[in-house]
Assembly symmetry: C2
Homo-oligomer: 569 residues x 2
């Protein structure tokens, strides 16, 4: 590839829309261009990196026996009604009517399509286990796309589905894919990756793992016990909370004026937030009348994933103006409205001398002993683990880290095969619904995560496995015939060896060329200059630093070919 013809503009200016480093670098280096909110075009260098990442994923999936297939992007309503997800998934799924007025949708995931393909195609136990996967465009109408390719609405994803005759067989296979994912991250060059217990969310099933790149730009929070290694997304993490352990006091209504937030109440009563009861109000999916109030200890946050799992419905923050509730004064005592459903967090169990809202303007109640004053309560674990909580596994301390989810794997059980009526003949003559696993990884997000983790102040940094070009040839002084001839010769010879070469044929300054090369993130730069040629040499520099090398022009091709090969794995 000649750089003069490469489509894409490289700029020094950091785009004002960029909120994270990877987004800024990918835009500055001419890798991506935004088309709409959360929708990007991939320019040639990004597409080259993307294809290389896809091929690594493909290789790792083939190594664990995966068979590549392709499911449709557009699917009919009927298929998703069989699983029940046509209605259970909200507005992140795009639905439309085709020209014949049939309800269609854009696939965000393909469990239904996988079962449709496998049903009546694999019928006997000896055809199992098998795994099918695809690499394909998905559209998910994210409410908040952000951070360039980190969270988008349209993306390419590898999604895989395995089918088993027993839970044991699934678990054995699940472990293989678990490891394959670490191979993928290693090969594309991500370093700070951990797998944590995750939320199975809309996929169903119980056991799930999320792969997290630990980084401050992450939206996910992960609780990690530095002592025993327990790791979980805070959405599912369990911790041991220190009880406040106060003594019973007298229940008393107190005038609190305009004090409404936990902070204001703590200030007024001179107590810490642990002594208060927080109320958070939600609307529940498919229910326009009722509101859900979750009560948690004042120092904690509601874990919405856990709430959704318990009530079996999606929830969303609710505007209190639509209810009979008094904003800032909601409390568990005397709340009595058939349109209010309440949920109490474990953190409130048997706590004494607490403060809560009085369900009337300008009043709170103090001296609340939960077990004494709020009878017949069932407590649920619906709060987020917080930094410093005890580890359930070893009693150590949990610490909270930020992470970006870069992959996830699920044990699905028969959530799809049962309602879709896929059966397998067993050796004993009986029939079972096969047990499924599913395994997802987004290509663009991983690309962006490499840019985020490895990029430096000069630009992007890719390893040899996924770099858009492996070597760049930078001739200085193209008006020098010898420089031009030797450079072109090198360019041709390297290409013939199968090396992916970018040739900077532009008549611009050395500084300009080097800056572009570093911004693009090419691992190796070969500088051909009149000076180096005087000694019969070219200069070789490495994107990740280290000593520059002078090497004789005769040996350059074999050195570069060998070096490139040695860096791939």
């Amino acid at each position: 590839m000649k750089l003069s013809k490469l489509l894409g503009e490289r700029t020094k200016e950091i785009p004002s829309v960029a909120t994270v480093k990877s987004q800024a670098l990918l835009m500055r280096a001419g890798y991506i261009k935004q088309v709409s909110n959360g929708i990007y075009s991939m320019l040639p260098p990004a597409q080259k990196v993307s294809v290389k990442i896809q091929n690594i994923i493909r290789e790792e999936m083939n190594k664990v026996g995966g068979q590549e297939v392709l499911f449709p992007v557009v699917m009919p309503r009927e298929m998703w009604e069989e699983s029940g997800r046509y209605t259970s998934i909200g507005s992140e799924m795009v639905r439309f009517k085709d020209r014949n007025n049939h309800d269609m949708l854009l696939g965000m995931t393909h469990e239904e399509a996988a079962v449709h393909m496998a049903k009546n195609t694999a019928k006997s136990y000896d055809q199992l286990p098998f795994m099918i996967y695809q690499i394909q465009t998905k559209f998910r109408d994210e409410p908040r796309s952000r951070a360039g390719l980190i969270r988008v609405r349209e993306f390419i994803m590898k999604d895989a589905y395995s089918f088993h005759t027993s839970q044991e067989d699934l678990e054995e296979y699940y472990k293989k894919v678990y490891d394959a994912y670490f191979n993928i991250y290693k090969r594309i060059g991500l370093k700070n990756v951990i797998a944590v217990a995750g939320d199975s969310g809309m996929m169903g099933g119980k056991i799930a793992h999320e792969y997290m790149l630990l980084t401050d730009i992450g939206e996910d929070s992960i609780a990690i016990c530095d002592k025993c290694g327990y790791k979980a997304n805070v959405e599912v993490a369990k911790g041991i909370l220190d009880k406040v352990q106060d003594v019973d006091a007298e229940l008393q209504e107190v005038y609190t004026g305009d004090a409404k937030t936990i902070d204001e109440i703590c200030e007024l009563f001179k107590v810490s937030p642990e002594k208060t009861i927080k109320a958070v109000c939600y609307a529940m999916e498919g229910d326009t009348e009722k509101s859900l109030i979750v009560f948690v200890r004042g120092d904690l946050e509601v874990n919405e994933a856990k709430v959704k799992f318990i009530i079996g419905k999606d929830i969303a923050p609710k505007d209190l103006d639509e209810t009979s509730l008094v904003k800032g004064n909601i409390g568990p005592i005397g709340i009595n409205d058939k349109n209010i459903v309440v949920l109490f967090d474990e953190s409130l169990r048997d706590e004494k001398n607490m403060i809560c809202g009085a369900n009337k303007e300008k009043y709170h109640i103090k001296g609340v002993s939960t077990d004494r004053d709020i009878p017949n309560v069932v407590y649920y674990d619906v709060s987020k683990v917080k930094d410093g909580e005890g580890c359930v596994a070893c009693g150590g301390k949990l610490k909270i880290y930020r992470g970006v989810e870069i992959g996830n794997i699920f044990q699905l059980g028969t959530k799809y095969t049962k309602p879709m009526n896929m059966t397998i003949h067993m050796p004993d003559g009986g029939e079972i619904n096969p047990i499924m696993g599913c395994y997802g990884i987004g290509v663009g997000r991983n690309l962006a995560c490499v840019a985020e983790e490895s990029g430096d102040d000069k630009g992007l940094v890719w390893n040899m496995n996924i770099a858009p070009w492996e070597v760049e040839i930078c001739p200085l002084r193209l008006d020098d015939e010898n420089v031009k001839l030797k450079s072109l010769e090198l360019y041709d010879q390297l290409q013939q060896c199968g090396v992916d070469v970018l040739y900077d044929d532009r008549d611009v300054s050395a500084g300009y060329k080097f800056a572009d090369s570093e911004l693009l993130g090419i691992p190796v730069r070969v500088v051909v200059s009149p000076r180096s040629l005087q000694d019969g040499n070219v200069e070789i520099a490495f994107r990740t630093g280290g000593d520059k090398k002078m090497i004789s022009i005769e040996n350059a091709v074999s050195f570069l070919k060998g070096y490139v090969a040695s860096q791939k794995f």
Copy 2:
């Protein structure tokens, strides 16, 4: 790959839904499964062939300097309003509202996205020409999907867009892609392919070529002059029609009773269809009041593509009950309704003594001389060339063939760059809108066309370039330890040489194995049996016939490796 785990069922029965050979074979061999009308899942063998075809296309595009990119599937309305196509394209384009109520659409083609990417990215004449392409899923809401993968609603397509500073430069580049397409067809194994002058349709522009696989199952008709080689889709083909050359006669209204069709009128008047005037009624896009009547000579068909081009709108057959017209009695004389627009075909120019409808029930008019009785007519070429018409180029005879369109290329001019305001700085200091070409080829349709053209009564036939597996190992009598060991050894060794091998590990009869192998279309089959091993040999058979070979087990790997390599190009 072990055949026992390959997902897909192979059957002898021809599926009742299959209308063409390729559809039947791809279904019978477990390549495809229908998900919805015109929407298919690709099982592992189909996906393997598809990926190999994609890679051939990629290589050929890279050879002509193409840069691979990726545009989004989902695009915002605004981008398509710039080009005017948001409204000009009908219901084959899927439109929907996203969660924020923005109008979005599914891309069927990406001219707008290509200009969006290139605009402000390529600014100077010395960055041109360049070509960008993608290989990506498209959805086109076809009114009539048919014939398996031949005409579907969802498909993978390679679409390419080139940008030039002059028409000459476009034409030079266009010729390169024109040739590259023939390379693609040759490499994937299509034989009976021609390029014909085509209709630029909704793409705009004037010069266009369609690549046609000549086959009786084709929906397109192509006029070919066997003398001079003139070739064109009948949608744009021009021919020289023999005039009827009768003499003037007296104009006379005649009672014709229930005779309405051209055949019935010919029977009644004892004339040939050339002596009649046919009327065809259409609704025009965006116009609910007016109807369009096209008059052509009775032996000819209306060429709707030409009509659309002339009136600049889409048309669709119209139900006459919604108009004031008398069905079966429409004629050009005395038709006088402000809601009727008429168009006359060239075939009617200066014809004499014709018969047409009288615009009243049960009557026709005979003795019509068009130039005498229908004053102030402008004639347009709006009929389809018919078999036997004269060739405009050499005067020879045109013959009509059937074909499936397997690719198309267009010279677009500034149809997109001008309204989208993409400009390029020229050396003289001025600015121009660059001139574009675009180039499309569908992956699935080409796959199906190879199946259609090469498949035989035993099953699919693929060449070595695109076969899902290059070699199949068929051990007979797996209970024989020696057979099993030698087979597995061969399987491992061939894989290590990079040969794509299918291993039939099933304990079934030789006949069953051979039938599956032939149905799947594997080019080379290696039979390992106790009998052949007695002489230290294996038997090698070829899917396309020819002599079977016995070869020593020691030489098998090197022979197969060499043979496979020799068959690829």
